[in-house]
């Protein structure tokens, strides 16, 4: 009757690996078990999900459909467990995700003031997991930098802010008032290229939608690398200002549009606290705050 989440998880593992043996290893079960479970899932759905042709394993169209939609369901189940766990630990908890450089205390304090018995927590996120924390239930709302994959989310834009390039102090461009994107053509970008979509136009990357660049680092690490001369990073002005240090310099970029900061939450939820916090955030974060 019910779809079995375990089998779905098994399916996802096989679909990722396209190999029963390796998938079984990853799942810490024996390979024959996996074979049988997938067959059971197929017969339960009345659909063949994989084409096994002795040498390679591939997804059928139905398998593709399942693969495309199963992720959110698994994440949703995990989120359920997390939210229940948090609801059980004593009083209500409301968790706000934020990225370094954003000053969110105004909105958080306002919410705390309005609900003295509510415990409001903050959770630091990175560019990579700013969306995941919402879908897996670690946070109730999260401040995100657009663009993000909006699947499953509600997103309301709060404000825009300019982006700057961070250079080592001795860099040839470090003393300029302002630079152009083209000035940076020869530089190494120390962050995922999708975080700066315009970079692709500059370097002529041909749609490297997966992993178009180095793995994500924390901002402090990025700045450390910049200081040591191994490359540059492009950051929102307030983030760059937040981490001021003598060995790097932030220079504004003339022909790069602003980033937008938004508040996001799980589209399937609608709690009074979330809408209340959204309203407070709109008031307290309608413009970038000067960095402290």
């Amino acid at each position: 009757m019910d779809l079995d989440l375990r089998k779905i998880r098994y399916f996802m593992a096989v679909a990722d690996e396209l190999n029963f043996g390796r998938a079984a290893q990853e799942l810490h079960i024996a390979q024959p078990v996996l074979s049988r479970q997938i067959r059971a899932l197929e017969s339960e759905l009345g659909v063949q999900l994989f084409v096994r042709d002795r040498r390679r394993t591939e997804l059928t169209p139905a398998g593709e459909a399942l693969y495309a939609d199963a992720g959110p369901v698994l994440a949703g189940a995990e989120a359920l467990r997390r939210r229940v766990g948090r609801a059980s630990r004593g009083t209500d908890v409301f968790t706000v995700g934020f990225m370094p450089g954003l000053i969110v205390t105004g909105a958080v304090r306002a919410l705390t003031a309005a609900h003295p018995r509510l415990r409001v927590e903050v959770l630091r996120t990175s560019w990579a997991d700013q969306v995941e924390v919402l879908l897996d239930g670690r946070a109730d709302v999260s401040f995100v930098r657009l663009p993000v994959d909006q699947r499953g989310l509600k997103v309301t834009t709060l404000f825009e802010e300019p982006r700057v390039v961070v250079l080592p102090s001795g860099h040839r461009l470090a003393s300029k008032e302002e630079v152009h994107l083209s000035d940076l053509a020869g530089e190494t970008l120390l962050q995922p290229h999708k975080a700066v979509p315009e970079w692709q136009a500059l370097t002529g990357d041909t749609a490297p939608r997966d992993e178009g660049g180095p793995a994500p680092l924390a901002v402090e690490e990025k700045l450390e690398h910049v200081a040591s001369g191994s490359g540059i990073v492009v950051l929102p002005a307030s983030t760059a200002g937040f981490y001021q240090r003598p060995d790097v310099v932030a220079v504004s970029i003339a022909d790069l549009g602003p980033t937008r900061v938004a508040l996001a939450w799980d589209a399937t939820r609608r709690s009074r606290l979330i809408s209340e916090f959204a309203a407070l955030a709109a008031v307290h974060l309608s413009s970038p705050r000067p960095a402290g």
Copy 2:
């Protein structure tokens, strides 16, 4: 490891009934089984979900949290099964939900023209299930009349259109060019009152958020009832025009704002076909079409 959807479904039944025996009956299982399954779920989550105090059964805060968020997960699982089933039946199928009175053929034909091998189906919905068909996977996109519960959906407004009141031909107001809401104060509204939010202000209903009125009927039935003099209905102009018949008259309402028609789809999905159809719908349905 995995959350068990069967147990969640059991939990929802108990939470709805607040009575183990009746919930068990509804689930077609024996009551002791249900007792044990709920206990198992509680120990799996490490949280008490119900307070059983011999005489009544109530939700704990953790139970409330689970109850609030579990629905979408169950619906999502059901949607998974449906979508896979549809993907399996031969070629790709794209299903468009619509409400009677909306002319959607333009957008549908455009999509078919762009994808000759795609089978585009239409699914007639009612006000009550216009959202459900999306969340449970019966349709890929659906035309909806706002306002709707937007949880879990992406919604883009297409156009606005005025609303009219449909009266029996012999009605005292039937010959007027235009009526005011207050003129209708004594009438019986033959549709869920939430479908006409302004009605509540008129009659002074005190927040009847559940079932504020009669059960939903198909438009033809409503008109039949109007013709027989048992009440009136308020409809979008194009819907009223679609079902023209001699024994009822549509009169516009001066002080009632327009309804908005929007295209909606599951927020967790993002398929090329959906965005393509959204674009086509914006072109082909940017204004109300005259009824045929």
